[in-house]
């Protein structure tokens, strides 16, 4: 196993090195005792290769972003219930925004730049870091510790950072900002909205994608997927591939909705689950394409 066990470093050295340094430098700065939970076992840092040792089956979801390293500290209380603090260095604030937004569902927790808390799971982003604090034990008993730990981590994560500029392309009317996601890969798309079993949009690490939900006047929102390809030819190929490979649902409520795609230059915009073709058309027309 290629993971490294951390040793305490001098605080001054850590502070000096931290601005652009490794997540291991965070170790001495972070609490080891919070609300009855104490650090248990050595801290661990994983990189893009060793992350598989830690995330059983989920590593690719984070490798689909510009993940650099993960800092992990485990805590236990007297009853042996574990809390896992994971700090993901995503390389940039935009990538951290992506890692956070691809799994966002719970109410705001007021921690870091954007956050959410649901039973047993605190997630937030700050600067170039995405942070997950979890327990698989009694969620109610752990809630105070999860929140306090999150608040204690934020001051050590460096400056805040901007979300992806591509977000500015989204039409604002009806936009559900807390249901807006940024990603690159088909792994993330299909975890948000199942489109097809194959990668019919040819998504890869160099494609920038926004998936946003819009109030469509009913129970099911309309969804706008905006993809920026590296160049126009790749967008053209993806447009053709989508037209050939996508088949909308033909049963259930989704079967009564509309899917519509439009390409402009190296951008491909697709509206899914729109209540009408007119709704989809209006949403596509309102996209504010960046000047490339």
């Amino acid at each position: 196993m290629n993971k490294s066990t951390l040793l305490p470093l001098g605080a001054a050295l850590v502070l000096a090195a931290f601005a652009g340094g490794s997540v291991k430098d965070l170790g001495p700065l972070l609490p080891k005792d919070v609300a009855g939970w104490k650090a248990a076992g050595p801290d661990t840092v994983y990189d893009r290769k060793t992350i598989f040792d830690y995330l059983d089956g989920g590593a690719e979801v984070y490798l689909a972003f510009d993940l650099r390293e993960v800092f992990v500290r485990k805590f236990k209380n007297a009853a042996g219930t574990e809390i896992a603090l994971d700090i993901y260095d995503c390389g940039s604030p935009a990538e951290a925004f992506g890692a956070f937004t691809c799994d966002r569902q719970d109410p705001d927790a007021g921690i870091g730049q954007e956050s959410e808390y649901g039973p047993g799971l605190l997630r937030f982003r700050h600067g170039r870091y995405f942070v997950s604090i979890t327990t698989a034990g009694d969620e109610k008993k752990a809630e105070v510790a999860l929140r306090e730990l999150g608040k204690a981590v934020v001051p050590h994560l460096g400056p805040a950072g901007e979300p992806p500029a591509l977000l500015r392309a989204l039409p604002e009317s009806g936009l559900k900002k807390d249901r807006t996601c940024f990603f690159h890969s088909v792994i993330n798309l299909n975890n948000l909205l199942f489109v097809a079993s194959e990668n019919i949009l040819n998504l890869e690490l160099r494609t920038d994608c926004i998936l946003a939900e819009y109030d469509a006047g009913g129970v099911e929102p309309a969804r706008l997927l905006l993809v920026r390809y590296p160049d126009e030819s790749q967008a053209q190929i993806a447009e053709q591939s989508f037209a050939k490979g996508y088949r909308p649902p033909d049963s259930g409520a989704s079967s009564k909705t509309q899917t519509l795609a439009r390409r402009r230059s190296n951008f491909l915009a697709i509206v899914f689950t729109a209540p009408s073709r007119d709704f989809a058309e209006r949403l596509l027309v309102a996209v504010k394409y960046p000047q490339e």
Binding site: G57, T134, I187, N190, A196, P249, S254
Partner: protein, 293 residues
Amino acid sequence: MKHALTRRDFLRGTTLAVLGTTIGLPRLAPAQTAKSRVVLIRHPEALDENSQFNEKIIQQMLDEAVMKLVDAPDPIAAFRRLVKPEDVVGIKSNVWSYLPTPPEAEKAIKRRLLDAGVKEEAIGLDYHTVRTNPLFVKSTALINVRPLRTHYLAGMSGCIKNYIMFDVSQPAHHPDSCADLGSLFLLPQVKGKTRLNVLCVLTPQYYGRGPHNFNRRYVWNYKGLIVGRDPVAVDTIGLHLLMAKRRKELGPAQEVPPVPKHIQIADTKYGIGTSDPAKIELIKLGWAEGILI
């Protein structure tokens, strides 16, 4: 371009036809003519009021399910149709920390193997080291037991995926939504040895959150076991259960866990079982409340 499976295909259970006509690969085993029997058994007391597993009830559920599976009059006779006293039997379990195979299910299987005449020293239980475990290396029979849960890449972790530790590299199976997991059943250490698949749906997980893909909110007390000799048919029923639960809790847009195509490909490319609902005989026993499928 090969034809992509869509949500519609998973909903209809027509993936066999789609893949069969588009992947263009030969079957590695003869087409089956008889239906694959799968038994779903549930019991309201499989978990107690504190969500602790009830060993006695789980033994009873396993017994009834296997008896029905092989049409045997009692549990010992049923297991004797699956294993011989001279067999060396590896029980491939699962130890994922958040949702491991319940020890009560492991014990129930081992108890009946002993009752069927298999020697205790010829029964092994393992998770991560099956590839090098001496007993598994010389095994003549395998029993496959694990819980049902969703998975970020494969869509679903079931009996097919449970054999991933038999290969040298696990990440090597991750590309394309773990499409080729069915190949695990053709590894020399595994091929032709699986006598029973037990997919524990006592507390299945229908959705995953966070880096560890686990949160107790998405685990429910279904109190069942899905049992069969065909791992593909067992997982097909498991997938239908997951989809039914996801549709109910998450809505139609998230009904299909992304992307469980390895189940169909285990059928159409590797020929290790059937994923076609029309070729699966599903027998439901026991508690029916909230059965979903």
